[in-house]
């Protein structure tokens, strides 16, 4: 019985972290299991989002309100993680844009966005390079 209640307490104390872990692992799974480069980028954004949620849930204080000063409100949530994540979101979209631009370039050069096909191309080009040098 006591074990049960302590487990429940842990669960309600930490469920935000567990959600973050689940999301993060979804993103991680997509990144390592999928060969499609766009899907990898989607996985990365998922991963990033889970980190955002981690920070924001850390900043939350139960019973507190959004950090904008107003009359009659005593306690506010912690504004510092909000600031960090606000800028991080905009930076993440910029980096995502760069990644997507790279993918477009890859598509134009290789005519595919699948990782193993790209590697096959690379290997083939490398071999033909070697052959040319031997000659």
């Amino acid at each position: 019985m006591s074990f049960d209640s302590s487990f429940l307490e842990t669960f309600f104390g930490l469920y935000n972290d567990w959600i973050v872990v689940a999301l993060m692992m979804c993103g991680f799974f997509i990144v390592i299991a999928d060969g499609n480069l766009i899907k990898k980028v989607v996985g990365l954004t998922l991963f990033q989002t889970s980190v955002f949620i981690l920070y924001i849930s850390m900043a939350k204080i139960l019973g507190a309100s959004a950090p904008i000063a107003a009359e009659g409100i005593e306690s506010y949530s912690n504004p510092l993680p909000h600031v960090l994540i606000l800028t991080a979101i905009v930076v993440s979209i910029s980096t995502t844009a760069v990644a997507l631009a790279l993918i477009i370039r890859i598509k134009k050069a290789y005519h595919t966005v699948e990782e193993d096909e790209i590697q096959r191309w690379d290997v083939r080009i490398h071999r033909s390079d070697k052959r040319a040098k031997v000659r």
Binding site: W18, K39, S75, A101, E114
Partner: protein
């Protein structure tokens, strides 16, 4: 896959809702711009995908499960959700919460911390965004200037959509300005306003074609604005240095410290807004430009890059 992105991000917004400013940014960036960029890329690369052997994903699944279990084991030591005395809430946050209103005169704590206390940090982020915009231009920008003069209007079938959007675009822009300058008092600020402003232009570009949109706001001007915003931010810092204080200390900008803070925050938020909007617009223009160039290449049935890569394999 398409809606997956969208639905997930909107769900994120709900989770994040206790942080107003962050929710705002996430709504504008995560649900809006990032989906747009993904869609553009997807329309260029095509939705083709090969099936992979099952075993590979099973290995990945095992790996992620192990990592996840380890992480959950690690969370057992974390402070409980919403607790007041957790380390994250203990140190500098109290200082901000009790002093920000008196020192900066800005009721929105997030804006106060973002623009005033952590001004260096935000400047760095802004430079990162600018750099990202520059590198996208460096990667794809060379191709997009050729397709300036196409009268290819992608959605001319949708008359109702076009009329509605024409009505909405000015409203969106005014809303963007409101968010920009109301950021001191409510949720909002330069980052969000920049994204909203960019969204209005992007909407126009999607409905009326890239050529028309470029006549409204030319690529050169967008590039100029991207640099202008960063310079504006830096200039505020330099001016405060010239007045004998530290870099980005706004208190010396006017005779009264509070007024100085106010001026400084408004100007740097403006700089942030201009740069973010310009970078987003230029990224979208570049992406769409390379998509349309792709189209015209295929229309002419002489895909130049295809022959190029063919020649690569033949010649070697």
């Amino acid at each position: 896959m398409l809606s997956g992105i969208y639905g997930l991000l909107s769900a994120t917004l709900f989770v994040v809702l206790d942080a107003v400013d962050v929710a705002f940014t996430e709504a504008a960036v995560g649900a809006g711009i990032s989906t747009l960029l993904m869609l553009t890329t997807l329309s260029i690369t095509g939705r083709y995908e090969i099936q992979r052997p099952k075993i590979q994903s099973q290995i990945a699944l095992v790996l992620t499960t192990i990592t996840g279990a380890l992480l959950i084991y690690g969370t057992l030591d974390m402070p409980y959700f919403g607790s007041t005395d957790s380390p994250a809430n203990a140190h500098v946050a109290d200082y901000y919460l009790s002093n920000a209103l008196g020192q900066t005169g800005v009721p929105n704590f997030v804006t106060a911390v973002l623009a005033s206390y952590r001004g260096y940090d935000t400047f760095g982020e802004l430079v990162v965004i600018f750099t990202a915009g520059v590198s996208v231009l460096a990667l794809l920008g060379t191709v997009s200037d050729k397709t300036m003069s196409d009268d290819h209007q992608p959605m001319h079938q949708h008359l109702i959509l076009r009329v509605t959007s024409k009505m909405l675009i000015p409203v969106i822009m005014v809303f963007g300005l409101y968010v920009q300058f109301h950021g001191d008092f409510g949720p909002g600020g330069g980052f969000q306003a920049g994204v909203i402003f960019a969204a209005a232009i992007i909407l126009y570009c999607m409905l009326f074609g890239l050529g028309v949109a470029k006549e409204v706001i030319s690529l050169g001007m967008v590039r100029f604005c991207a640099a202008l915003g960063v310079l504006l931010y830096g200039a505020v810092g330099v001016v405060s240095m010239l007045k004998g204080e530290a870099f980005l200390n706004y208190s010396v900008l006017a005779s009264d410290a509070l007024v100085g803070q106010h001026i400084g925050i408004i100007v740097i938020e403006l700089g942030v807004g201009i740069t973010v909007a310009a970078v987003m617009i230029s990224v979208f223009f570049t992406f769409t430009g390379s998509a349309e160039e792709d189209d015209s290449a295929f229309d002419a049935s002489s895909p130049s890059d295809a022959t190029e890569s063919n020649s690569k394999q033949v010649s070697q």
